[in-house]
């Protein structure tokens, strides 16, 4: 709980410690489908009530399913705090689901996938396709949006069992920021959530995978695209490893804005790319992860450039850091920007409530959030060189190249596999 009396509003986050990495096998996409069902009514507040109450209270809401957590967020004028607490406690207590609701919501989710993935020129390939190539364990490698077969197979029994296993108070964090006193909020939390039946805390599966030992590069046709793009991903070490913070800083140094090494090297400089993005833990951001996560670079490259040259240029930028490190001046500027960006992320009450919930989920302590700038500040040029060399080498990558129809010939045959640095096929 973080009080801020400067504006008569609040932000509220309920975070459940379950995401797509933990959904059951043969149910790819289930955690996300379940998130939708959380808005579809309870025995006390039937379908439609949640959104009507939200709108009628001047609020906004959303849900997000990430690999390790699912968050439900609301922001509204402070007059609506009690009813949002009631609504969240109510749907933590029980859902009222029938077959028709499940079927309709399944259709909506399929439309979401058609909209965001199938009709997208690149099929959101950095999210949807890269993990399958980069990782081996199902929890890490499957598509969290799900395929239609798995979605079709989902039953009301699956919904009940997922709810009973993961959607318990013992597995949840409630966080509020805004125009209210701390003691008031803790009292209200007790009042509304105190009686919600709890259960054992689910055991988190081991999803560790070490660094890849072999590179893999696949060229895939993108029938709806008109310009090529590629993504290169690497596995990263577990949370708490000495290279984790350096990799986070490297992500910013390589990708963030006009000062980014990849912007200056590939968009300016070599003029191979139209756009670069990516970084450490890109699907969740910052410190939102359990175990290990990934690092990626996504490059929209200029039509005439062969992909091998683009990957080679990416490797060269990373190798230069591994070889020479980074000068203190540049690293200092990156740290300043990361620290200021962190402050900006706390500006809205809603974002602050979410970040605090995340800090509890992953570090067990909301104040760990405030250690962020200090942790970033401790990273040295030698740390960056070491982390780049250890984790982001060409031999540890998995890359996918998306090529528009008719532009394949210049870039090699479809489905070709090989190492990124042109050292021959695997």
């Amino acid at each position: 709980m973080s009080p801020d009396r400067s504006s008569p509003v609040f932000g509220l986050t309920v975070l459940y410690e379950v995401g797509s990495r933990e959904e059951p096998r043969h149910r790819a996409g289930f955690a996300h489908l379940f998130e939708h069902l959380m808005f579809d009514g309870t025995p006390r507040a039937p379908k439609g009530v949640f959104d009507q109450v939200c709108d009628a209270s001047g609020g906004s809401n959303n849900g997000q399913t990430r690999p390790d957590v699912t968050v439900y967020v609301e922001a509204a004028p402070i007059s609506a705090l009690d009813r949002f607490l009631w609504l969240e406690a109510d749907r933590m207590t029980a859902l009222a689901l029938d077959q028709e609701t499940l079927d309709t919501e399944r259709d909506v989710v399929k439309e979401e996938i058609r909209f965001n993935v199938q009709d997208d020129p690149y099929g959101m390939f950095e999210w949807q396709e890269l993990p399958g190539l980069l990782f081996r364990r199902w929890g890490n490698s499957h598509d969290g949006y799900g395929d239609f077969t798995d979605l079709d197979a989902a039953t009301l029994g699956d919904v009940r069992s997922f709810f009973e296993t993961f959607y318990r108070p013992s597995n949840a964090v409630l966080s509020i920021a805004g125009d209210v006193r701390a003691d008031e909020v803790f009292e209200k939390a007790e009042k509304y959530f105190g009686a919600v039946p709890s259960g054992p805390r689910p055991v988190r599966p081991d999803l560790e995978e070490g660094r890849r030992s072999k590179a893999v590069v696949e060229v895939r046709e993108a029938p709806l695209a008109r310009t090529p793009a590629l993504v290169s991903g690497w596995r990263t070490p577990p949370r708490g490893h000495e290279d984790a913070w350096p990799l986070l800083v490297l992500g910013e140094l390589l990708h963030d804005g006009r000062t980014a090494r990849l912007y200056r090297g590939l968009v300016e400089g070599r003029e191979l790319a139209a756009d670069v993005s990516g970084g450490f833990n890109p699907f969740q951001g910052g410190c939102w992860y359990h175990g290990s996560t990934l690092f990626l670079s996504r490059i929209a490259f200029r039509g005439a450039a062969p992909y091998q040259e683009v990957l080679g240029a990416l490797d060269e930028e990373i190798a230069r850091i591994a070889r020479e490190g980074v000068d203190e001046g540049e690293l200092g500027r990156v740290k300043t920007k990361v620290a200021a960006g962190f402050l900006r992320s706390l500006e809205s009450r809603l974002d602050l409530s979410t970040e605090a919930a995340v800090a509890v989920a992953f570090d067990g302590d909301p104040s760990s959030l405030l250690a962020f700038p200090e942790r970033v500040g401790r990273v040295t040029p030698a740390d960056l060189a070491r982390a780049a060399g250890r984790w982001l080498g060409p031999s540890a990558r998995a890359a996918i190249v998306k090529v528009p129809p008719g532009k394949r010939r210049a870039n090699g045959p479809k489905g070709r596999r090989g190492s990124g640095s042109g050292k021959g096929p695997k």
Partner: protein, 449 residues
């Protein structure tokens, strides 16, 4: 509302205390507003210059290229030096062309206010347009256009703007290839002086800074001046008086992307606020009729919605949905049906109250950050309204009545006077939309210059 036993009532609202705004003007006409937001040591600067795509006339989309080229450095600092300084201030700078305005924004740590103000002034006064930067801006604009043309939402917006605005300058949403190729350093420089001038501009500074510090920091703007004749404002956009259908062919498309609408209002029009509430009840909120119908009841689409925009020469009212192609016909029929219903009977008291509370609540939420306050002060100024109107949205919706909502709906949500754009696989789409009659034009992707 559907009953929910035990749901707590709303408590009393706490008043929104409108932050104090320090307003003054420089001798060259530049308006300056400061709003102090204590707390985090951050500051946002927003330089809003009247004229964006509205100024483009015979060079559709030129304003966007001008904005991009502003980020390529100045006569005193190249782009590398410029962005290194910004990074050191914990921030960034961007230039964007919109419909009615071009905006140069910078943000960073509040301790860097003088530096940030100096860099924004440098960019608009001394943009350098270096040869390699201009060449890259043009090359990237061509690449971006190529990429954008693969996106159904872009194709739909482009076709919709053309169909609604016709020959008006608002009819373009992105630079054309002809415009991109015609860009030269000389043209950029001439248009910069002509368009970006202090008497057409407002600078908003919002954050952990006081008015005195801002008055000192804006000193580099004092010598800013334009040259040549400033562009004229575009005439009022008439909108369409009939129903027309445009199909944009995107072979292989999995969905049909539908956009339906017509011109709307200015912010200062009498029916602006009533129309906003009408659109909220109709399709602007999750609990709205259209979303409940298309998504919740039928499961046709993940992404239905509606919105109205306010522009100086009249904005638009639009509905949209991306649906699987075989239900494009039924989805459009529902959209027309809901528009019709809005114009045939008054919204219920419960719907009106819900829409009022929603819109005023979201307004309140948008004003909780420095960036939100700066954006609203810029919007007010563009509409010719003073800083005293800051926060008016929190209360203005409460005064709108059901008959006013009905009247606005009849005028702006009339299914017989509307543009319908459908992007998708034309062969399958043509079949799905055959009930709309023969008034269908087909355009292929990329057919534009």
């Amino acid at each position: 509302m559907t009953p929910a036993a035990g749901l707590p009532a709303l408590r009393t609202d706490r008043p929104f205390v409108v932050p104090e705004v320090d307003a003054f003007a420089l001798a060259n006409g530049l308006q300056v507003r400061t709003v102090t937001v204590p707390g985090l040591p951050l500051v946002t600067l927003r330089l809003v210059i009247r004229g964006g795509r509205s100024d483009d006339g015979p060079m559709p989309g030129f304003s966007e290229l001008l904005a991009d080229a502003l980020e390529e450095g100045t006569t005193t600092r190249n782009a590398t030096q410029l962005f290194d300084l910004l990074q050191d201030a914990g921030g960034d700078l961007t230039a964007d062309a919109g419909t009615d305005a071009t905006t140069v924004s910078a943000h960073g740590l509040s301790s860097s206010l003088p530096l940030l103000a100096g860099l924004v002034a440098d960019v608009v006064r001394n943009a350098g347009f270096p040869a390699d930067g201009v060449r890259r801006v043009k090359a990237l604009a061509l690449e971006d256009l190529e990429t954008d043309e693969s996106e159904p939402s872009f194709l739909a917006s482009r076709a919709f703007a053309r169909a609604v605005y016709g020959r008006h300058p608002y009819a373009t949403v992105a630079p054309t290839r002809t415009t991109i190729r015609s860009v030269t350093r000389e043209r950029l420089d001439g248009e910069l002086r002509r368009r970006l001038r202090p008497e057409r501009a407002l600078l908003v500074v919002a954050g952990a800074v006081g008015p005195e510090a801002v008055r000192r920091a804006v000193e580099p703007f004092a010598t800013w001046e334009g040259a040549g004749d400033a562009p004229e404002l575009p005439p009022e956009a008439p909108g369409t008086e009939r129903r027309s259908v445009v199909i944009v062919d995107r072979p292989g498309s999995v969905q049909a992307t539908l956009v339906v609408g017509n011109v709307g209002t200015r912010r200062t029009d009498a029916d602006a606020w009533p129309l906003d509430l009408a659109v909220t009840v109709y399709g602007g909120a999750f609990s709205s009729r259209l979303v409940q119908n298309l998504r919740v009841a039928k499961g046709y689409t993940y992404s239905p919605g509606a919105a109205s925009t306010w522009l100086a020469a009249r904005g638009v009212v639009r509905s949209w949905a991306s649906v699987r192609t075989e239900v494009a016909g039924p989805a459009l029929a529902e959209i027309f049906g809901e528009m019709e219903r809005m114009g045939s009977e008054e919204v219920t008291a419960e719907e009106l109250d819900r829409a009022r509370r929603r819109e005023s609540g979201l307004e309140l939420l948008s004003l909780q950050t420095a960036a939100g306050l700066a954006r609203e002060l810029g919007e007010l100024w563009l509409s010719g309204l003073g800083p005293g109107r800051l926060g008016e949205g929190v209360t203005a919706f409460g005064r709108v009545t059901a008959p006013e909502v009905l009247e606005a709906s009849r005028r702006y949500l009339d299914p017989s006077r509307t543009v319908v754009v459908a992007v998708g696989d034309a062969r399958r789409l043509g079949k799905a939309l055959s009930s709309l009659g023969p008034a269908v034009r087909r355009r292929r992707v990329g057919s534009t210059r």
